[in-house]
Every structure is written in C-alpha cells, then in structure tokens.
Symmetry: C2
Subunit: 230 residues, 2 copies
C-alpha cells in the first residue's frame, strides 16, 4: 500500500545539508551560498533555495533576507537552554520506556548498550559516537510515543555537533557507558522515576563536559543547574 516516493533534488539536498550540519561538517556561522551549493550539487539554484528554506524552518539555518542564510551561532546560554530541554525530553523517553517497554524492546536496548560498551573499550571516538546515538535512539523508540521520539530527535539533532565534543574529555567514553548503564538498569526493572533521573543526570554531565572541553561554551554560573530540581 505504501507508494514508493520519488526523491526530489530539493529533498536530497536538504537531507545532505542537514546531515552535514548535524555532523558539524558545516560549522556554525557559515553562510549557505546558493550559487556554490548549486554547483556542488550539479543543479540550478531553485532546489538549493527550497532546501535552504526548509533548513531555516527547522532551525538549522538562520534566515537573513537578501543576505543569505547562515548556520546559527550558539551562545553558552542558548546551548544550556537547549541541553536542558533535550535532557527533559530524553528523560521523558526513558520514563515512558520504563513503563511500557516490551521484553523484545528491552532486549534491543540491552544490545544497543552492549554495543556502546564494546566500542568504548575500543576507544574510538567516532565509532563510540555512532553507537551512542544508536543507544539514545533506542530509548526514544521504546517510549511508545512516536511524536515524542520525533521531537526529541529533532532537538537532539540541533545540538548534535556539540554533543560529540564531550568525548574529547579524558576517559569520557567509559563514564558515558556507566551513565547509560544506570538508565538501562532503571528501564529494565521498570522504574520510571529512576530512569528519568538517571537520564537527566547523564545529560547534565554531557552539558558540563561540553563546557569543559569547549571553554567558549562554558555555562554561566547561574545557569549551572538549568535542569529542574526534583
């Protein structure tokens, strides 16, 4: 029944650019130049423009009429706000997962966690980063709320280039796995409060670690505890 969708150039370009921004390959502050992108993608400016309009709509680019769209810059305050929201959304995913995950889904989560642990032992940041993303996405997937998963993923993508920065901190991979383990344990034994709290803790560590390794993104003192106390 599913109609096979033909992919438009606009969609292909949007996806490629979004991916590049998420991966940090197009840095913040970079202007998205229609002409050079059109040349790069071997198309006219039209689909490039349409793709850029889409990126603007989802916050991946900042519209500047007549002056080109630019990948947004982040202030430390802004990043802290975004991390706090992301933490809450991921905590909600964890909470729902703890309440609702089936046995099969719990097994899948455990496997995603094991893959993380394995790649942490290997010590390769890029591989760990990918298994880390897979792990988090596994939590979204078993929340049994696909809209929540979408919203969480979209917020996650917004700060993705920064999340990766954490792994430049000493022994961060192994610590990340330990934090994940607490989330997994709580989900597997059906403890929603515990799962949510463990995820909040994990995301708080991520935010402060990003500040350690990128001093220009260090949170202000009065934002250190942005996530709600409870």
């Amino acid at each position: 029944m599913a109609r096979q969708q033909k992919q438009t150039a606009t969609e292909r370009i949007r996806a490629t650019l979004a991916d590049a921004i998420v991966r940090g390959e197009i840095a913040q502050g970079v202007t998205l130049d229609e002409a050079s992108l059109a040349e790069k993608f071997a198309v006219s400016r039209t689909p490039v423009r349409e793709a850029i309009r889409q990126l603007e709509a989802i916050g991946f680019a900042e519209a500047r009429p007549h002056r080109g769209a630019v990948v947004p810059n982040f202030t430390p305050e802004r990043l802290t706000e975004m991390f706090a929201v992301m933490a809450e959304l991921e905590a909600l995913c964890a909470r729902f997962a703890a309440e609702r995950a089936t046995d099969d889904e719990k097994r899948a989560l455990r496997e995603a966690h094991d893959a993380c642990a394995h790649s942490a032992r290997q010590g390769d940041i890029d591989v760990y980063y990918q298994t880390n993303l897979d792990f988090h996405e596994a939590v979204y997937a078993i929340s049994h709320n696909s809209f929540l998963a979408e919203v969480t993923l979209s917020v996650r993508n917004r700060v993705s280039p920064f999340r990766k920065a954490q792994f430049r901190s000493f022994n961060r991979l192994m610590k990340s796995v330990e934090e994940h383990a607490r989330v997994v344990d709580a989900i597997l034994c059906g403890d929603p409060d515990g799962a949510a709290a463990a995820m909040i803790d994990h995301m708080n560590v991520v935010r402060s670690t990003v500040g350690e390794v990128s001093p220009t993104l260090r949170p202000l003192d009065d934002q250190a505890a942005e996530t709600a106390e409870r």
Copy 2:
C-alpha cells in the same frame, strides 16, 4: 542593534498559511495548490513553493513529490501522542516558571489569567480561545528558557486546531479557567511540583474533552492515560 528585517514574499506567505492551518481555516487533508495560492497571494509560484517547503519542514504539510503537499490528517492515536508531549512540555514550562518567575512576571501571569476569567464570563468562545492562548504563552515566557518556549509553542501550534474544539463542550470555558487557576496558584507560591501536576491535569482534561466533542478523535481505551504517572 537589531537590523530591521525586510520581509520576503516567501516569509509572508509561510506565516499566513501557517496561521490559517493553526486556526483550522485550512483543514486537514487539504492540498496546498501552488497555482491557486500564487493567484491568491498575487505572486509567482516561486515564493509559494518556498513557503510550502517550509511548512513541510515543520510538519504543517506533508510532502508528496509530484502530487502536491497536503495538510496532514490526524489519527486519534497520533493526537493523543502529541497531546501527551505537549502536556509534558507545558508542565515543564510551569515547573520552571514556579522556580524562576520574578514578581513582575507573576503579575503578568495573573493579568493573563484574569483576562481569561473575564472572557469566560462573557462566554464568547473565540475571545476565550485567544486569551487562553495568551495565558499559556505567558507561562512559556516566564519559564526563563526561551528554547523551551519555542519548542512548546511549535508543538502547541501543531495541535492548535484541535485545542479549540474543546470549548464546544458544555461549560468548558469556566472549567478551563478553574484549571488555569490551579496552575497559577502553584506558580505564584513557588511550588514547581504543584505547577507541573496542575498543568498535566489541565492538558489531560483538554485531550479527553477534544475526544468528547469530536468522536472521530476519541482516544483508544489503552491510550487514555498516555501522560506519565508520577
């Protein structure tokens, strides 16, 4: 220092169409026809297309390559998922507001609440709907997390046509005001848990009321308690 932004046709069209979708003036299932919209806005198809691409990116339209974009249909399950996420985000706004609102902001919230109470006594659904939106936005504004306010607003807009439907229920306006009052009381006396719980309760009533007045959107039995128990 803020540069006065010139508004492009694309932006004007996007805003107008988004507003019409949010208000329910463009119903779900409607195809966004480039040619007639171009005629309506007295422009070529180009800015209309760009605006439609943006609407697609934010979920206000569903992309269908070569067959035009369409305002998405909602299933009851989908709507329930979306309401649950919205409830949690609004609850988080309320929680943060209870922790952080300044005296001036509390005053502004009280005023927004009083405006709601006044328009409820008048009994005009359209006016109440607007003051109701203003009230909720006042809560977002005093959360002291502008990113959270943005995300909450964008989710709120996605289900906006349905939220309005609740007010067709008997005496719903006055009940809505009572529910708001509990949120306001908790925020004003600095009770984050109370504020979050009151907002969750309020949003749950909204969801179930929407199902009462729109039988095709009634939640399934096993989704009745989508919002997390805690």
